[in-house]
């Protein structure tokens, strides 16, 4: 489920706003209710005064003309029509006679206290009543108002406020939607840029005036592109080199096949077939090494580490290469100063030892010497291979590890991949390889492989 930032932002905005809105509405409602009540109360008080004034004037005349303090005319009841339907009043004489009332006022006295407001129920109607008593004549004016009316007025005020807010909410929502969209626009443009690019285009992406929030993403993308570019170029160079290396043995095979077909002389044909066989062997080795590199080049590495006695591996390799050394009259000596136990991939370490010894034998002139020493130095198992060959100039040593580089010694055969593979295998075991001059000018290669940290280190060996 993908979350829309725009929707999420809008939701947050609107919910926050709605909560504020509800709180504001409630506040406004209560406030306007209170304000309205005060206004209405003032009106009630004023009405009471006016009614009292008029009543005193009218009733006094009536009472004076009769010379009595009571108005005891049966049925004397003056009913006036209330000008304002919401307000009702009663005028009571001191003897408890109802002198005047509005048509919406009850016949019974509206409950009241003198000179104050009372909320009370008459029948099923709720009234707010204000009463005023004239001390001289004993006339009481009671002015009342239906609570429902008061509520309605307060509600009306609150409702109008809320209504205006309700119009504003969608406007705010719309503006938020547009605003967030605008803010997201650079992201969209960045997406377009990345989506439109060719698979092998590793140039940096960039936005003019990109927001600060997107900058880290752009930087991260560009860093990734740089890494990809390097990796891609490495692969391409390697493929090109590999193709280049395969072309020569392929040509040789083609040519020697042609020669074998063309030759009438048995000896010429036999020579051609022998070269053909040699080329096939070279090519097989090259393909094998390319596959080895491809397997160990990736990031996902399939190392099968197990306990390995380096000295035993060296002995195993030496026994295989003895014939090759003897054929070239090269003396091969092994010194085991310690017997380090490694936690390593047997195939890889075997390959390292074989490549180094094979190189040494290959490049050492007939009658020379190759010496191997296994030792333990400061937490590392060491393998030291020295020969009496021509050695390699210091300025050329760096290039030794380049793929297909042969240090100008193509006559010795080999694909130029051996040392690359060796180095990769050593790297995979967190080891290092050093190249130096041997005593007497030959090449000396030392490999350092870390011993396992569990305490199963090397033990001194008696044999050498």
């Amino acid at each position: 489920m993908h979350v829309s930032l725009r929707r999420r932002f809008l939701t947050v905005m609107l919910s926050v706003f709605s909560m504020a809105w509800i709180a504001a509405t409630a506040g406004i409602y209560l406030d306007s209710f209170h304000e309205t009540a005060e206004l209405l109360d003032a009106e009630l008080r004023r009405t009471a005064s006016v009614v009292m004034g008029m009543s005193l004037h009218e009733l006094e005349e009536e009472l004076l003309s009769r010379g009595t303090r009571t108005l005891d005319i049966a049925g004397y009841e003056n009913v006036v029509t209330s000008a304002e339907a919401k307000i009702a009043f009663q005028v009571w004489l001191a003897n408890g006679q109802l002198a005047v009332r509005t048509d919406n006022a009850p016949l019974t006295p509206l409950p009241s206290t003198t000179g104050g407001f009372v909320d009370s129920a008459v029948g099923n109607e709720y009234w707010r009543v204000y009463a005023l008593v004239d001390a001289r004549t004993g006339i009481t004016v009671r002015v009342g108002e239906h609570e429902s009316v008061r509520h309605k007025m307060s509600s009306d005020v609150a409702f109008r406020t809320v209504l205006s807010l309700m119009v504003i909410v969608p406007i705010i929502g719309l503006m938020t939607w547009i605003g967030v969209g605008r803010a997201m626009e650079p992201l969209g443009r960045l997406t377009d840029q990345v989506a439109r690019r060719q698979p092998h285009d590793f140039s940096a992406v960039g936005l003019k005036g990109s927001p600060r929030e997107i900058e880290p993403l752009i930087n991260a993308l560009n860093r990734l592109f740089t890494c990809l570019k390097l990796a891609f170029e490495n692969t391409r160079r390697f493929t090109a080199d590999a193709a280049h290396e395969l072309r020569t043995p392929l040509s040789a095979m083609a040519v020697q096949t042609d020669v074998a077909i063309l030759a009438t002389d048995e000896e010429v044909r036999a020579t051609a077939l022998n070269y053909l066989k040699k080329s096939i062997r070279d090519m097989t080795q090259l393909v094998h090494q390319l596959l080895t590199l491809a397997r160990w080049d990736g990031n996902v590495i399939d190392l099968h580490r197990c306990l390995l006695n380096l000295a035993e591996t060296v002995h195993a390799v030496v026994s295989k290469l003895e014939d090759q050394a003897r054929a070239r009259d090269i003396r091969l000596t092994v010194t085991v100063s310690a017997e380090p136990l490694l936690l390593a991939d047997e195939t890889a370490i075997h390959l390292v030892v074989r490549n180094l010894l094979d190189n040494a034998i290959r490049y050492t002139p007939v009658g020379g010497q190759v010496s191997v020493e296994v030792n333990v130095v400061a937490g590392y198992a060491t393998l030291h291979v020295a020969d009496t060959g021509p050695g390699i100039a210091p300025e050329q040593r760096e290039r030794l590890f380049q793929r297909f580089y042969r240090a100008g010694r193509s006559d010795g055969g080999g694909s130029g991949l051996g040392l690359s593979i060796t180095q990769r295998c050593i790297e995979l075991h967190q080891g290092t390889i050093e190249i130096d001059s041997a005593d007497g000018g030959g090449l000396a290669v030392t490999v350092y492989l870390p011993l396992p940290k569990t305490g199963i280190g090397g033990r001194p060996s008696a044999k050498s």
């Binding site: 020569t248 392929l250 095979m253 020697q256 042609d258 020669v259 002389d265 010694r409």
Partner: protein, 217 residues
């Protein structure tokens, strides 16, 4: 026609050398630039076939060295490097032709014949002299329009003479060409082939110039 092949890969160099020898060319093979330099100083080659990826001395360096000596010998570069940049560098570096590995020997041979034609300023791919027509590509000889049966050795000798029309070709040069068949080069081997050719083409077709060799005029 004597060709110098400079190629460090033993199997490829040997193959090219043997194949060209079987086709009747005299071929010297060297595996590094320094040895090739010595050979170029001593022998007048008609063509150099040069691999660019050589040990110790790069092929392009050798090519520059050849051109710096004002040596106009055609140079055909054979290399595994096939990008446009590489080809341009080779041709602009003084090469006359450029062949990318792996190549077919038939193509190499056709390009050699083309270089030969240009070298001898010949428009026709056929070598003609009087009633004799030699087709170097098909390795056939015709006399008065009729196909003539000649042995491979006789063909090689005749082609060399026709390529050098009017100029004497020494017995040594011809010996060198025949060397490819691994036969014992006896002093009279060339004489035998000349004798046979004269029998087939007429006594006066090949002239002997004492002390210089043979020629057709």
């Amino acid at each position: 026609m004597r060709i110098l092949v400079v190629e460090d890969d033993e199997a490829l160099g040997n193959g090219v050398q043997t194949w060209l020898r079987l086709k009747g060319y005299s071929v010297d093979l060297f595996r590094d630039g320094h040895a090739a330099q010595q050979a170029l100083k001593a022998v007048a080659y008609r063509l150099v076939i040069l691999d660019l990826g050589l040990p110790t001395m790069d092929g392009l360096t050798l090519l520059r060295w050849i051109r710096d000596r004002a040596d106009l010998t055609p140079v055909m570069v054979i290399t595994a490097r096939d990008t446009l940049k590489d080809r341009l560098r080779g041709l602009d570096g003084g090469a006359d032709d450029y062949l990318v590995k792996p190549f077919e020997m038939e193509e190499l041979a056709a390009r050699i014949r083309a270089l030969e034609r240009r070298l001898n300023q010949r428009a026709s791919p056929l070598l003609c002299h009087g009633p004799v027509v030699l087709d170097p590509a098909a390795m056939t000889v015709a006399l008065d329009g009729a196909k003539l049966n000649v042995s491979r050795r006789e063909f090689v000798v005749l082609r060399e003479l026709l390529e050098n029309k009017g100029k004497p070709v020494s017995r040594d040069q011809l010996d060198h060409l025949l060397y490819a068949w691994g036969e014992e080069v006896e002093s009279n081997t060339v004489s035998v082939h000349i004798h046979n050719l004269r029998k087939k083409l007429g006594e006066n077709f090949i002239v002997t110039r004492r002390g210089f060799g043979y020629l057709v005029v």
